[in-house]
Symmetry: C2
Subunit: 456 residues, 2 copies
Amino acid sequence: MSENQIEMQEQVSQLLHFLKNEEMPEFRAKFLDFHVYEQGQFYQSLSKEERQKMYCYLSPKEIADMFDVIEEDNEEVSEYIAEMNPQYVADMLGEMYTDNAVDILSQLSKSRQTKYLRLMKEEEAREVKELLHYEEDTAGSIMATEYVSIVANQTVRSAMHLLKREAKVAETIYYVYVVDASNRLVGVISLRDLIINEDDTMIADIMNERVISVQVDEDQEDIAKTVRDYDFLALPVTDDQDYLLGIVTVDDIIDVIDDEAASDYSGLAGVNIEVVDENPWKAASKRLPWLITLLFLGMSTATLISHYEALVSKASILAVFISLITGTAGNAGTQSLAVAVRRIATNENNNTSFFHLVFSEVLTGIVTGAITGVTIMLIVGFWQHNFMLGFVIGMAMLCAITVANLAGSLIPMLMDRLGFDPAVASGPFITTLSDLTSVLIYFSIASIFMHYFIHH
Amino acid sequence: MSENQIEMQEQVSQLLHFLKNEEMPEFRAKFLDFHVYEQGQFYQSLSKEERQKMYCYLSPKEIADMFDVIEEDNEEVSEYIAEMNPQYVADMLGEMYTDNAVDILSQLSKSRQTKYLRLMKEEEAREVKELLHYEEDTAGSIMATEYVSIVANQTVRSAMHLLKREAKVAETIYYVYVVDASNRLVGVISLRDLIINEDDTMIADIMNERVISVQVDEDQEDIAKTVRDYDFLALPVTDDQDYLLGIVTVDDIIDVIDDEAASDYSGLAGVNIEVVDENPWKAASKRLPWLITLLFLGMSTATLISHYEALVSKASILAVFISLITGTAGNAGTQSLAVAVRRIATNENNNTSFFHLVFSEVLTGIVTGAITGVTIMLIVGFWQHNFMLGFVIGMAMLCAITVANLAGSLIPMLMDRLGFDPAVASGPFITTLSDLTSVLIYFSIASIFMHYFIHH
């Protein structure tokens, strides 16, 4: 890759040279030779003045192709749009795939949306408006309407003829969807099958009638799972009457998988890793709300311990094991949490699996807790020459781990039930909560047995 | 989907009925009508006896198509292979895409590998053997050799003719790679372009000469990034002389993205979430090694506190804040860790960014630590009517958070430098380590200022 990178850098500096010297034909030739992704990288590295030159040199269609690639989660896009001539924006949006045009518009204010939609061609504006209404993270919000559909009652030759005509605008031509007279989805045929079969074959004879499709209101995570399992390059989207509405393509699915993974990871860590802040002030301002919230939860643990201050001052040895018990229970709780979040994401979540998972995590907690508890009992017993103290620490460990596993699996399950993203029940939250329960368990057990392990 | 699911269940029970009553023609007709993924789901739900009937009813080629989909990370595959006639296995492997055949073989012992390779057709065995040598997680290990290549000096018509012939065996026909006489990659053309252009057009005139390709030893994560950025359906794999060796397709890339996400998530949680153990004993046995290791690390924290036992017995109030300080620092360290692991995964990791990231995390730690520290100082000051104690807790908080951020960013960075997966530096490890440093900081500061906050 490093050779490629050096070559790329040379190309980029040439391009920049053409732009600065206003050598438009040379700039156009070189720029349009770039892959759209590279065009996007170049464009985003420019100053506002340089970008504005580009809007003069390139047609809305040419800029649209590039925007089809850079629109994904791009905070600067609304800025770029603002610096363009409104009619240019409208034309560009019209040339983009509908799903991407919708992505851009949904980042803008309602009034700006209306402005651009009014300037767009009626037909194009109508398609975009329809998609704008679908809820976020559903099939409707990520589907494109540029698919190829044919009727069953024709030959491969005529289908290929139609495909040739549509190939320039369709988002994918590798699947062709077969519909009846009222646009109901009745079959699918891949371009591969069209190519393999003889020209005179009827589509009805070779199409696959068992079409896997998704409903327009289906969650994007479920769609990603279907694409992954079936190795599809695109999936048709229908309404509940089987009318074909659009397609979701594999590149959008990759973005969904990436986003979901990043959001699960962010949840577990209690920090949004998708936005990288170079500036420590900015980074701190994003992490503080969560840290301060957890600090207050941590204060309840401190308050709880303060109730046992008399006990601690009599048996200061108890203070030695606070962090060991809270730490180990926190680790166990984090493990349970991760397993539960993963299970919710991959399994259908019915009642059986709900209780089954929590029950299984609690059992796992008892087993790990018992073994960890016996280990620490022996260590403390020999170290402090006090097996009664070892017993107290071991018992506390067993109970604290079991409760942490219960919390780690139950809380994300309940959040999922209540319609929240279970990944929001972050690792830091579970560990901080588990600190509280662990301390409560530890000092309760210590109070009960205090007369047996304190030697006066 | 639920309607689909009910229909699917009916189909499956019919299929099972045919299999049990040994109605082979009916079984074949219904089974082959299933999507290969559904075939795989059905196959995996069967008993050994039922599966063995399937090997009689279906040809190695038909089973191969199904195995192309279920081979991914399937612990049972080696069991399935063992129950088949060895020649059947060899024929099946020969019919699979090379990358998938290699996946299966690499799960078997060397002696079983040799047995099957010897039974395979010479040409097929040779291709598989070549791929078996590539290191895990590189382009070589996930590429297939079933691509379509043409020479530039021909028309679209003749290229389409060749494509028709190859369409049945190629893993993708949607990109056609253009090579010179010695199989060096010189261009690429999509099937879409072949279809759009006139039959008499020369390939040399319409092919894209700026081919984005990956080296055979390139890491699969980098390949995933390229596919994602450029929205490719497949990428050509070459050696350092530009000879075309194979292709990586988008369905393999989705598996890579999934695996990497799951392994990052597992790392952060300190538990492998990719293997779901229903059995609590088994689950516990997998989690215990990590918990016990961390328990011993936690014991050093306990030992450290025990050195301060005299201090604690004089000022038992100190015990109240142990879990608050270790907990908050642990949360901050986990945030740093997640940001660092993500940065390592997405950025090129050069020297500047190495120091830059650690420096930026430490600064973020100072800012968050200062604000959290002042907050807790005020709370403790008013709560305990002891601002000197508040100052000690606040100072400890500031230092502990800063050190936790340092550890959270530095450790994964160093692990990456030393060639380990940075995600192995898990959240539980960082929090347990941060417990140790936090306690050390806390009691050191408390010792220094003890005469100011203990009222006798």
